[in-house]
Amino acid sequence: MKRSTKPKPKTGAPASATLGPEKLLRFYRQMVKIRLFEEQVNQLYTSAKMPGLAHLYIGQEAVAVGICEALRPDDYITSTHRGHGHCLAKGASADRMFAELLGKASGYCRGKGGSMHIADQDTGNLGANAIVGGSAGIATGAALSAKMRRSEQVSVCFFGEGALGQGLLYESMNMASLWKLPVIYVCENNLYNEYTHYRETTAGEFTTRAEAFGIPSESIDGQDIELVHTAALRLVERARQGKGPAFLTCNTYRFHGHHVGDIDRSYYRSKKEEEEWKNKRDPIELLAGRLVARKLVDTKALKELEEEGRREIEAGVAYALSAPYPDPGEVDQHVYT
């Protein structure tokens, strides 16, 4: 495919923007909301109120928020089994997400998708995917579509480092590079593919995986939301200008188990490692520390923001718990349009 016309840039913040206090406070609120949402999910699980399992995003909040805050509402994302953070960060509301997680009719997918398939077309979330790497083609196809429609939308493909094992990712990156598609591949390296350290499953260096297809690739601290956001602004803008795809590795950590039921983790990672990340590398604490140090806000105000978030989450879960299940007659609806 050859492309002649280059869409000219129209929107998007300049990549060099320094992040103002409102923006940072918004990041804080968003990250806290994700954290509280996930803690609530864990509680729903332990109190046997949630069917099935869920994969918590706690510890990785700076990635979803830092990236999604650089996107337009009509930009696309694709997400993963660990997708609640992406979904909230892109603008979905907690109540309908909880409803989905509980299999209720007012959930984003009428209870049919559940945790691993939450999608919200209105906020550009094309869906979580329970096939590791399974959305690489979808995100790239959305970028192809944006380019063909000249809509200047950008597409972000979130995935864990485990997805580097899936051939589809390489097939997709090749085409994204060939056709200069506006897609950003965001690899969240939280060190583990389920219960196996990525070093045992991943040869070579992360950055070279995309460079092999001529795609510029960076690896950054995924716990530092300012860093993540600044990189995202730059890469998104670049993509929007028709300059092609990028690959961004965000180094991060999941504070909880692979899923809510993964309690005994000692055989694959040490308590010490977990503690170090939790104590020294919590993205929310890091930002809070900076906000206070820069005197943009005091701890009391932060506490209030947190309480605000808590109220939203509590209202959301209450809504979901009392929401009705889908009617049995829905079971064979939506198989075909």
Binding site: I131, I138, T140, G141, S172, M175, H334, V335, T337
Partner: protein, 340 residues
């Protein structure tokens, strides 16, 4: 080789005859003219117009932006198709040989087929996967399979199998307009088959079987090029005063059960002919549907004829033994009618 009998008279009086390949080409060209969201992606679909030359001329008319030559990445292009379909385009993904569908299964079965349902009806995947089926081309085991049963099994997919140029054009246009993922199988041995196709616009609805030849003694349900085989068999059977009704299901999913069942009830004898493997294949479902609903009307068990349960051999001496032919259909029909 499978017999390629000339097709039966089409529903309306038609003078123009074109090939199956031309019918496919026309359908795509018309749909691409009608709807700017429709585009084609696949290996060698551009200048080459596919190895079967089915898409010749499209790139000249629609340009490389809408007729996209891709790398050899079946999973990748199908995945891109899914993403593009979800976001406002209507991709037609070209998978050169149906055998390569094995590489696309995750994107087709776990993604395309399920997204509408998993999203509670919000997202949709209006994508067509055009591909081929059929043996006897001396292409051996990895270029000769008829794998439509695999897709007919999966909820969320539609599966079309045209048997004439007329049906090819009408069904493909419907496929492109359908809001669901459609797997569209073309028998590569039929591309040169000629038949009447009107100049005027028409579409053929999915889920409506076509009685390609009416008859009274035995119902022969067939798919794709096996319809041609069945028609050739019917001609021979007529010579032996057995009147065979030939029904082309046209789409295995959705399946027009009613037409099949009514015919079987009328004739009291039914056969199903399909080029996919017989075991756990399309003939099993169709035979079961008939055996279930026409049970009290049947004079004999429903007979199934599919491909032999072997990887398709290269040697002509062996390959021709593996697929149904007019002769095997005639034999089976005569046995079913108590004539042997």
């Amino acid at each position: 080789m499978k017999a390629r009998a000339k097709q039966d008279a089409a529903p309306v009086a038609l003078s123009r005859e074109i090939t199956f390949a031309q019918a496919i080409n026309e359908a795509l060209a018309e749909e691409m003219r009608r709807d700017p969201r429709v585009f084609v992606i696949g290996e060698d679909v551009g200048e080459a117009g596919t190895p079967f030359k089915v898409l010749s001329g499209l790139i000249q008319e629609f340009g490389p932006e809408r007729v996209i030559d891709s790398p050899i990445s079946e999973a990748g292009i199908t995945g891109l198709g899914v993403g593009a379909a979800m976001t406002g385009m209507r991709p037609v993904v070209d998978i050169m040989f149906g055998d390569f569908l094995t590489l696309t299964m995750d994107q087709v079965v776990n993604q395309a087929a399920k997204i509408h349902y998993m999203s509670g009806g919000k997202l949709k995947v209006p994508m067509v996967v055009r591909t081929t089926l059929g043996a006897t081309r001396r292409s051996a085991a990895q270029h000769s399979q008829s794998l439509h049963a695999l897709f007919s099994h999966v909820p969320g997919l539609k599966v079309a199998l045209p048997s004439t140029p007329y049906d090819a054009k009408g069904l493909l246009k419907t496929a492109v307009r359908d809001d669901n993922p459609v797997i569209f199988f073309e028998d590569k041995m039929m591309y040169q088959l000629k038949g009447p196709v009107p100049e005027e616009e028409y579409t053929i609805p999915f889920g409506v079987a076509d009685i390609k030849r009416p008859g009274t003694d035995i119902t022969i349900v067939a798919t794709s090029s096996m319809v041609q085989v069945a028609l050739a068999a019917a001609e021979k059977l007529a010579g032996e005063r057995i009147s065979a009704e030939i029904i082309d299901v046209r789409t295995t999913a959705p399946l027009d059960k009613e037409t099949l069942i009514e015919s079987a009830k009328k004739t009291g004898r039914a056969m199903v002919v399909d080029e996919g493997y017989e075991r756990y294949g399309v003939t099993a479902e169709i035979a079961s549907v008939i055996a279930d609903s026409a049970f009290y009307y049947l004079d004999a068990p429903v007979k199934r004829i599919g491909a032999m349960h072997v990887p398709v051999p290269f040697s002509p001496a062996l390959e021709d033994l593996t697929v149904p032919t007019p002769e095997t259909v005639v034999e089976a029909a005569k046995t079913l009618c108590g004539r042997i």
